[in-house]
């Protein structure tokens, strides 16, 4: 297999691995970790319900990431089909398609949840997005928009290499901020299952889980947008752009941690609000 074929096959393989991981069933150890992470105890009667919800969200997210990864391989596919046109597809929009897919998947996974209350009982307690995820992270995503716009304006005025790609960075930041806004309100406004029953804390944990996936993907997308918007300079002028690349890499790590590791207790978040 020559290098060009390998480069074309690699994105597809990675996409299939992502898809496979997203489709595999949740194990008992996964549920135990999830309960510990989000300070919730799943009643025996609700294990099936929680498992189905978590698996469906994971399927939606991984499917869209996989689609984005496959799209990201477009330059490599074109290199096999029509090498002269391959360069047309080698840009930051195609390259970050997987991140757009991740953010879209995280939003869609929350928006499509059709949850009905089990009893006609409501807690006299406003559900706010900051109950489910650190509000500081949300502010970082929102503040990224004006920062990325400023970087794009600088890049455009300097006409640095591929200056138009800076505006792809703006699109990324706007999509990240918009996705967080829409997704977090979908999470908070979703009907409560049964606030007075044992499933109440599980309901909160499911919301927090979705919020963490959403904000993590948005952080990674916004940071990548900032990296794409930064002007390309030589010499010492390259340092700020290099720093933004490091920030983007750190955002990927933070996304991983938010999606899999960071602990969050809705009960504690409300008590300290």
């Amino acid at each position: 297999m020559n290098g060009d074929v390998a480069m074309a096959v690699l994105p597809v393989l990675v996409a299939l691995v992502v898809l496979w991981r997203g489709l595999r069933p949740l194990r008992d150890v996964d549920l135990a970790r999830w309960q510990a992470r989000f300070d919730a105890t799943i009643p025996d009667s609700d294990v099936g319900f929680v498992t189905r919800r978590l698996q469906r969200s994971r399927r939606v997210r991984s499917t869209l990431v996989a689609a984005g990864l496959a799209i990201g391989g477009l330059p490599a596919y074109m290199n096999l089909i029509d090498p002269a046109r391959s360069a047309e597809f080698a840009n930051s929009l195609v390259g970050s398609a997987w991140l757009f897919g991740a953010a879209a998947g995280a939003v869609i996974a929350e928006v499509v949840v059709d949850q009905r209350p089990r009893r006609r009982i409501a807690a006299l307690l406003e559900r706010r997005p900051e109950d489910y995820v650190d509000a500081r992270l949300v502010r970082v995503v929102m503040l990224a928009v004006p920062v990325v716009v400023a970087l794009a304006v600088i890049s455009t005025s300097m006409r640095s290499f591929d200056w138009w790609e800076a505006w792809v960075g703006v699109v990324a930041a706007v999509v990240a901020a918009g996705g967080v806004h829409v997704g977090l309100h979908a999470i908070a406004d979703r009907p409560a299952l049964d606030p007075a029953g044992p499933v109440g804390e599980v309901d909160d944990a499911l919301r927090a889980d979705g919020a963490h996936h959403l904000v993590g993907a948005a952080l990674a997308l916004a940071a990548t947008g900032a990296d794409a918007a930064a002007p390309s300079l030589d010499g010492a002028g390259a340092i700020p752009a290099l720093l933004l690349t490091v920030v983007a890499l750190l955002a990927y790590v933070w996304w991983w941690l938010l999606a899999r590791d960071v602990r969050w207790s809705v009960r504690r978040a409300r008590a300290t609000a």
Binding site: R120, A122, L124, P198
Partner: protein, 122 residues
């Protein structure tokens, strides 16, 4: 946790049930002044009501000076609206909270009462 509920079998209209329950918890001091109430959309979704029904209840509460609506900042209990809970009301509210906590642990009301008696005698 303070809750409101809708009884489908009651002849009282849903908006009046919601209004009366919220008015009671405010005037007995169970919910302090400045506390934020759920948004119209959230309360409507949770109770299976139309948003306009909840909005009507909130308007009635605002006309009675029990709540203040602050647009995007939501609806809060008005200052001066919250009463000081009578000792009996506070005790009943505490008992309700305990029974809710026991229910979340999967205990029945009888089991919760037995645990309370055991704790009281030790």
């Amino acid at each position: 946790m303070i809750t409101v509920s809708v009884d489908d079998t009651s002849p009282v209209p849903p908006f009046e049930q919601v209004r009366a329950q919220i008015a009671r918890v405010i005037t007995t001091g169970a919910v302090p002044a400045g506390a934020r109430l759920p948004t119209v959309r959230q309360l409507a979704h949770d109770l299976g009501l139309a948003p306009n029904t909840v909005a009507r209840a909130y308007r009635a509460l605002e006309e009675a000076d029990l709540v203040e609506t602050r647009g995007r900042r939501g609806t809060i209990v008005a200052s001066g609206a919250a009463g000081t809970p009578a000792p009996d009301d506070a005790l009943r509210a505490a008992a309700r909270d305990y029974l809710d906590a026991a229910a979340r642990l999967g205990a029945s009301a009888d089991e919760a009462l037995a645990a309370l008696r055991a704790a009281a005698t030790t």
